[in-house]
Amino acid sequence: MKINASCVIIGAGINGCTLAYELALNGMKDIVVVEKNFIASGATGRCGGGIRQQWSTPMNIKFAVESVHIFEKLDEMLNYKTEYFQGGYLILAYTDEEVNQFEKNVRLQKSLGLEVDIISAEQAKKIVPRLNVDGVKAATYCATDGHANPFYVTQAYAQKAKELGVKFLLDTEVHSIVTEGNNIKSVTTNKGNINTDTVINASGGYAHLIAKMLNIDIPVKPYRHEILVTEPVNRIIDPMIISFYHSIYFRQELNGGILMGQGDPNEPSSFNVEGSFPFVQEVTSKVLKLMPCLKNVAMVRQWAGLYSVTPDAQPILGPVGDFEKFIQVVGFSGHGFMLAPRVAQHLSNYIINGNTSYEMKELSIKRFENAQLNVDVNVV
């Protein structure tokens, strides 16, 4: 294999595929996506598919709100049924500190144009009548939040990108990046070399390993995150429900299955993506407290994927180190599916026109040189 490419995108997850599409749509030719497995085989195909705008930093909110505008038109734009559904997100507060934090979040979110409200436990029960609201002090609700099927969304972008001429090399693993001075010369894979001067790191949980190929350290670490799904049942939950207090979230898929996941603060950084039994025990006992009516519903499958986490739970975008054309779209910290559509537009504008947007400046790796980071606390 000997190929010349205008740019090589490493990783065919949601970020690699949205960016390939945006670059091709805006006229770039000879784009190559290199993927060691298959499309959406990484975090993307394992994620909860949630699309929420209720974050606690301006950048996460902005990218999510603007991505929702894209999701709303996506099926038409890409000619694919992606199961996008705006059933809202309901976030429960159990302590006074949480209520204070949520009030702060909602003020910020509203100032950025989001329609979101603090509601009472009774109002939350109106939205999900089967929810047990014992102990709930308040909640926030945004009706335009929602979810989509991550395989379908990624497939939709990849399919359109192919139609626009993007080449996808599947089962192909990047082993090294060849440089001369501060310039990239080529990418070496298990199937041969690709000549290029631009490399995009969209490798999800493996991002730090790709950066290491150029001797660059980026503050992104992989952590296993577990999730399970039940058999389909009648429609009982429209919104995604989150409790930071219990460190859980759950929602109902359009086909009826209930999806539930849990964040574990004691999980060590690793590449482990095996499902574990303690997770199933913990998440089911917490969810059954909130939704006792699910007790007779059967779990059909559990799995896990990697969160790639940065110190402030916001992605790193743009070039790093001395290489102007080694561009990161990494570190999405558990919310990369929902931010990808808009992030790709900013990056494509940078790569094609050289425009560094305000958002890209804010999310450049340089922010970690500051002592004061704006950390998003709204994470599970």
Partner: protein
């Protein structure tokens, strides 16, 4: 008695994944039009194998179809990644599990 000659059935009438309502025509479309090459990919993109039986019924049949359509020996076709639980289990059984003591 007329009966049905199975050799004359349309691909769209041959159910391959009964849990997720997938026909032979759907599987062939996934292979040839969408370019999917494995049981795992077809499971993820088409949901065939994600239904109630979790692919216990359709997994091997889909492997056979891939083998025929792409001319790959059947032995070389990997099954989808096995996922727990092996059998569907009620959520309260997990939530109340106490290490196997005094199980109801």
């Amino acid at each position: 008695m007329g009966g049905i000659n199975i050799m004359e059935l349309d691909d769209r009438d041959i159910i391959i994944c009964r849990c997720e309502d997938g026909t032979l025509a759907d599987v062939k479309d996934a292979i040839h039009r969408l370019g999917l090459r494995s049981v795992e990919e077809i499971k993820r993109v088409k949901r065939f194998g994600m239904g109630h039986c979790q692919g216990k019924t359709c997994g091997k049949i889909i492997a056979q179809i891939i083998s025929q359509e792409l001319g790959i020996p059947y032995e070389d076709i990997k099954p989808a990644t096995p996922r727990q639980p092996a059998k569907n289990i009620r959520l309260d059984k997990f939530a109340n599990y106490n290490g196997g003591k005094n199980e109801d």
